[in-house]
């Protein structure tokens, strides 16, 4: 082979390698299946809080503990997750007000079997898109996007945290997104004595939340309400008794749920 031919062979090989590598890489991008190699995280019971809890101001009285409550194992759950990606993202002419939204949500839920009898309304919040100037630190414009309506399930008259319905409503109350986790069957697995709300608060101040937080509770955060209920632990299918300290933090107007294990 002449030196000239050898050079051309080398160049051709480089070119062919590029094509093969390119095709392989593009092939990798075209693949859109699930990642079967994803490592499943270790089992946790309730998620841990990521922060300290020593800066809480109590603005609510302590409710009476229920004494002894049944423990339950969840047997079946109705799960619905639907997203209207296009409509959810667009700016609307108007969105339902917080007062209008619950009635509209109930009507729209008829297409999903209606609002269950054991549901109670958490709240309705109109949500906006905001154009914000980072130099002046001011809102330039605000556009209506959707109104969120949230319901929680009740069992034995107690709220079940992590079981409920979260809806996003459009201009006329039509459902844009729906997330429903509704316990449809459960059976008694035992019973437990419940600690007092005062003892639960002591645990909270010691940082003994049922789940790990990824941040610090700001100084001056206010516990606006305290509720006893069950926490639906999807990993174990248990309904776990909890005290929930609903806390307003920072510039927030909506409370965050701080869960504390209520079993004695």
């Amino acid at each position: 082979m002449t030196p000239l031919k050898t050079k051309w062979v080398i160049i051709s090989l480089i070119f062919a390698s590029c094509i093969i590598a390119g095709v392989a890489v593009i092939g990798g991008y075209m693949w859109s299946g699930s990642s079967s190699d994803a490592i499943t995280p270790g089992d946790q019971t309730l998620a841990p809080l990521q922060g300290s809890t020593e800066k809480l101001i109590l603005e609510s009285g302590f409710p009476k503990a229920p004494g002894t409550v049944p423990l339950y194992k969840v047997k079946s759950v109705e799960t619905i997750q639907e997203v209207n990606e296009k409509l959810s993202l667009t700016v609307k002419n108007r969105i339902p007000t917080a007062d209008e939204a619950p009635a509209l949500a109930e009507k729209s839920l008829e297409a999903y079997g209606g609002l269950p009898d054991d549901a109670s309304l958490i709240n309705a919040i109109p949500l906006y898109r905001v154009k914000y100037n980072v130099t002046t630190g001011t809102e330039v414009e605000k556009y209506p996007v959707r109104t969120q309506v949230r319901y929680i399930q009740n069992i034995d008259g107690y709220p079940v945290f992590k079981a409920g319905i979260s809806l996003m409503l459009g201009e006329n109350g039509e459902i844009l997104d729906i997330y429903k986790n509704w316990i449809t069957a459960y059976e008694k697995s035992g019973e437990s004595t419940v600690i007092s709300a005062e003892d639960g608060f002591k645990k909270l101040k010691e940082g003994k939340t049922s789940a790990e937080l990824q941040g610090t509770i700001p100084t001056g955060s206010k516990v606006s309400a305290i509720e006893f209920g069950y926490y639906y632990d999807k990993k174990s299918d248990d309904l776990k008794p909890v005290w929930v300290y609903k806390t307003i933090m920072g510039t927030e107007t909506e409370p965050f749920n701080l869960y504390v294990d209520a079993m004695a």
């Binding site: 990642s35 490592i39 998620a47 993202l89 905001v130 992590k162 937080l213 990824q214 941040g215 510039t251």
Partner: protein, 245 residues
Amino acid sequence: MKSHKRISVLLCLAILCVFMFPVSAYQFSMTNVENYDSQTDLYPDGTSSHAYVYNWLTGQGWSQAFYHVDTSVDDTDFATSGGGLNNADFHYHYGHGDWISSVGYLDYSNYPTSSLVRTEVYKKWGTSLISANKWVVLDSCWALLDLQWGGALKHSHGILGFASLKYSDPTLTNTFLDNCITYDYSLYTSWRSATQSVLFEDGTQVRVVFDTEDQLQNDHLPGHGTVASSEILDDDTIYYDYWYT
């Protein structure tokens, strides 16, 4: 004359390679602070989150630019002096966050001695139109309650994060990337759907911050839908949406 021909051919090949290889250029990076000197440890949640990021994105042909953990995470990862996350199209940060006097912090492992504040990264993400970085996830509490984090977006497109406390749960990472890749949802919808599903009714405020409204509505992971163009002239404005879990 012959050598000119050879140079021309080699140049053509080089140009061809440039066009063949951009797809393979997609890179991700991750910072994971899960062990703290004076805060609650989050191990192994950050490690699990990284496993999800790594497996989903390498499965799509992406490569990992860097993965720094605990004490090896510092300002340079966040492009305070160039490089860092600017070398990757997608960056995922996991760890504690804090909010003091209206300033959102990302906590390093020896916090409060060291942390990252938004002033350190002002206009530093996507420093040029050819910078790789497009998106940053801040999987920690509080940072995006401080909207000045949006000032980090020079030519980068968006930040996905939280404006309140949140509970740690690595299945959020998995669900988010599953939404992006399996369902071809936009990054915004993927984040909204994942947070609604995993942090269901905790009362977490979730936010997305994008440089332009077009990016907010249309950005997808490459190969899974459109990616809006980068803002050519930085107008100092951002768009943000929020919702509650």
